[in-house]
Homo-oligomer: 322 residues x 2
DNA sequence: TTGAAAGCGCTAACAA
DNA sequence: TTGTTAGCGCTTTCAA
């Protein structure tokens, strides 16, 4: 691939002059400019981003760490991030932690090796103080996406509030027993429970941690069986919801007549399922844009103090399943 | 971030010696090694990948171009590619062309700027001679994934054969009229038609290009209406299939009794749909691994002539929808 | 308006 | 076994 030095030789000017032309400096004689540009075009010159990044800090690269790109929600998120980044001339190096903290830690190192200008991360252990300390010590600005991390810039949806909103809605739809699919420390579940507790339904709600389809099937069967009232399942994400729907179908339980189901993330398939899935929608594009904007801001104004911590709100998308 | 030169100063050795230690050279005195390693650890040294890539060619970076990461199939593919690449110490720069040739073209330039060691691409216009010429002229090895590009290394599933397989299967299931959702130049459709033609069903098959749900709904309604026999819809991908299923449901058509539906890609949701979706499965992990292996091979042995063009075979995954 | 020179962080000769 | 030197491709002074 041709370099500035080579173009300089071919056009009989100095290499810095080539640099000036190619970077659009106005202080170059028109004839030289023409000659250089023509030569660059002819040889399809592409600047060496590595050399550029070597002295100035700007590599025009973001590191993007997600937990699982094969989850439609994160796939959408990455797509939006890529789009937003590209608009500012940034490319993204993608990492998939697979919910493994070891990977997450390793990728934060890799990201530094490439001297990325910033990092967008979907953290696994955003509540872990050690993790936050580690991140803060990095010499790269990091913005946390979809989850709030204390002391770090975060662009996220308030899961606690979203969970409460789901509870309120389900109560209004005359569901009286509740099952959450996911971890018990999940903010959605905390908010969900608390809202239910206020109306005295605390005792009627439980959670199960998804392991595999057989386990889910059995747990659901048991739960459905002991239902005195109409129950609702709140799935931690749409993938779980899809499986719940399938399990209920094979159990012969009608949705939403006997049991309601609501998902989380409002992935695009939801609108086409049978029954169509109610779900909690997160403003993915907005999150991506704000996160990128915030990161660019941090890059342009390093050393700024105030944290960015502005939760976005989720929205209920109601369909047939509730 | 600390550099080799700084470590050299702190430990009173020369910078190349630091380089030797950190690269595991055995020709360094144990005490010096210890001192240097301790210092590097203490300051959390991370080598500068840009500086490294600047002279040697190896950046340990792959460019990965896909058409649409938000499609579950490609999301899976990217995940597998990332995993396979990481095993060889590679990171990936991700690009999403959104089926826009202009983007594709631009990203091929960006990829060169970062001096990636190789490119894995899901091409949009793999049949276009200009595109192939352009790619061949790049000084970066490119491996085409999921689609075959004449004259380029390609790791793909034979869509023509897969389409023929679908035709054969559907005929065996007593379907007698056929509708393909997708472009008429799609290899799947070509193979599908040809196989049907051999049995005299050519006149009974047509295709529609998906635009939006309303259009799909109307086209399906018309098609269903004029069905003299039991018909089957072959969707170009599972996303289309999901929409077809939904449209048929709202048309009151029962699947698979009146109309069969088969998808393509066998994305994970298929097994949970109602009815569960038959689909054509592509060996994603295998494709990713072979593509990465092939690319590494090209990088290690540049200038090798023979092309890699070995189609993998697709597999029918039969479920309730047919 | 242009060029010469230095230097970013590293690897790769070559010398000692 | 270690250090010196040069150079990858670029930007950034500083002179001319």
């Amino acid at each position: 691939m041709i370099t500035m030095t080579e173009i300089a030789k071919l056009t009989h000017v100095s290499q810095p002059t080539v640099s000036r032309v190619l970077n659009g400096s106005q202080t170059v004689a028109p004839d030289i400019r023409e000659r250089v540009l023509a030569c660059a075009r002819e040889h399809d010159y592409q600047f060496n981003a590595l050399a550029k990044g070597l002295q100035g800090s700007k590599t025009q690269l973001f590191g993007v760490l997600v937990t699982d790109i094969s989850n439609g929600f994160f796939a959408d998120l990455v797509k939006q991030i890529e789009t937003a980044a590209r608009k500012s001339g940034y490319s993204i190096i993608l990492f998939n932690s697979d919910y493994n903290p070891r990977n997450e830690r390793e990728y934060l190192d890799v990201v530094r090796r490439y001297r990325v200008d910033g990092v967008l991360a979907v953290p696994i252990r955003e509540t872990s103080p050690e993790w936050r300390e580690y991140v803060k010590k990095l010499d790269v600005p990091v913005v946390t996406v979809t989850r709030r991390a204390e002391g770090l810039d975060s662009v996220y949806v308030d899961h606690f509030q979203a969970g409460a909103m789901v509870a309120e809605y389900l109560l209004g739809r005359d569901f009286r027993r509740f099952l959450f699919i996911g971890k018990d420390y999940d903010g959605k579940y905390t908010g969900f429970r608390q809202a239910l507790a206020q109306t005295g339904f605390d005792a009627w709600t439980s959670n199960i941690v998804y392991q595999d389809d057989t386990q889910l099937h059995q747990a659901l069967a048991a739960w459905v069986h002991q239902l005195p009232d109409r129950g609702a399942v709140f799935a931690g994400n749409d993938i779980y919801a899809l499986r719940v729907l399938d399990a209920l179908r094979s159990l012969g339980v009608s949705v939403p007549e006997e049991v309601g189901v609501i998902g989380f993330d409002n992935t695009s398939m939801g609108g086409y399922l049978n029954p169509r899935l109610s779900s909690v929608s997160q403003p993915i594009a907005q999150m991506a844009q704000e996160a990128v904007a915030r990161l660019l801001d941090r890059i342009q104004h390093p050393g700024q103090q105030e944290l960015f911590d502005h939760p976005l709100s989720a929205e209920l998308v109601l369909r047939e399943s509730t």
